[in-house]
Symmetry: C2
Subunit: 137 residues, 2 copies
């Protein structure tokens, strides 16, 4: 499969695929007689993994660790370690997001419960005060 087809099948830009190769995420593709890269079917799955891992919040460098050139060389413990750490990271993010969401909702409440006769200036100050008081831990 040439890079164009691989690009279409993965939804990635050919430039991105070459970029991944340059970064060492993809093992260097074999070449056809004309010099064009020639990919095996597997490449689609590997790029899918890269794309998924990225959506899961892994950086390209982390993904590189996760995907040694030789798939059979995956290190059980190392892999598990990386995955566990990522779960921990996600949990931290979840907590932060929940706090931020609660916070913003609190702000919305505050702003909406503004007495109709309160002027903008005062309301703004009230909001400011709240931000100052509650946003920081």
């Amino acid at each position: 499969m040439k890079i164009g087809e691989l690009a279409k099948r993965t939804g990635m830009a050919a430039s991105a695929i070459r970029f991944y190769e340059a970064r060492g995420l993809l093992k260097v593709a074999s070449r056809q007689a004309n010099g064009y890269r020639d990919y095996p079917e597997d490449a689609v799955a590997i790029l899918a993994i890269i794309s998924d891992a990225q959506q899961a919040g892994f950086t390209l460098d982390e993904i590189k660790q996760l995907l040694p050139a030789d798939v059979s060389s995956w290190q059980h413990d190392e892999l598990i370690g990386i995955l566990r750490r990522k779960v921990a990271d996600i949990e931290v993010l979840q907590t932060r997001l929940a706090q931020n969401k609660a916070h913003i909702q609190h702000l919305i409440q505050l702003i909406e419960s503004k007495p109709e006769d309160m002027d903008c200036q005062l309301n703004a100050s009230r909001v400011m005060a709240t931000l100052g008081l509650h946003l920081e831990p």
Copy 2:
């Protein structure tokens, strides 16, 4: 207060504070006779808001919308709109994070439940297959 003190009190670098001013997030600071920036106490609170908003996932441009130079000019409806959109964004993120977490945990399960006599190669393939089958929507 000079920029150095403000930096210390907010935990930000002076360069970052100047950067925010250049980006229009902070109103241009008044100057002392010698040309040094001179900040009022309020600046600490404003920088705290910027920092918090950032942690909440707002970009500097969004924060700029949230923080008009003149606090009293906050537009009720506009502000509410921005906040609601941010809550929606956070909810999308929460869903994705939950999915990613579940996914990674599933992988950990798969890898850990590997029969002791299965060789690495096979296990790797199994993991690969799982990734291919389940990571994409």
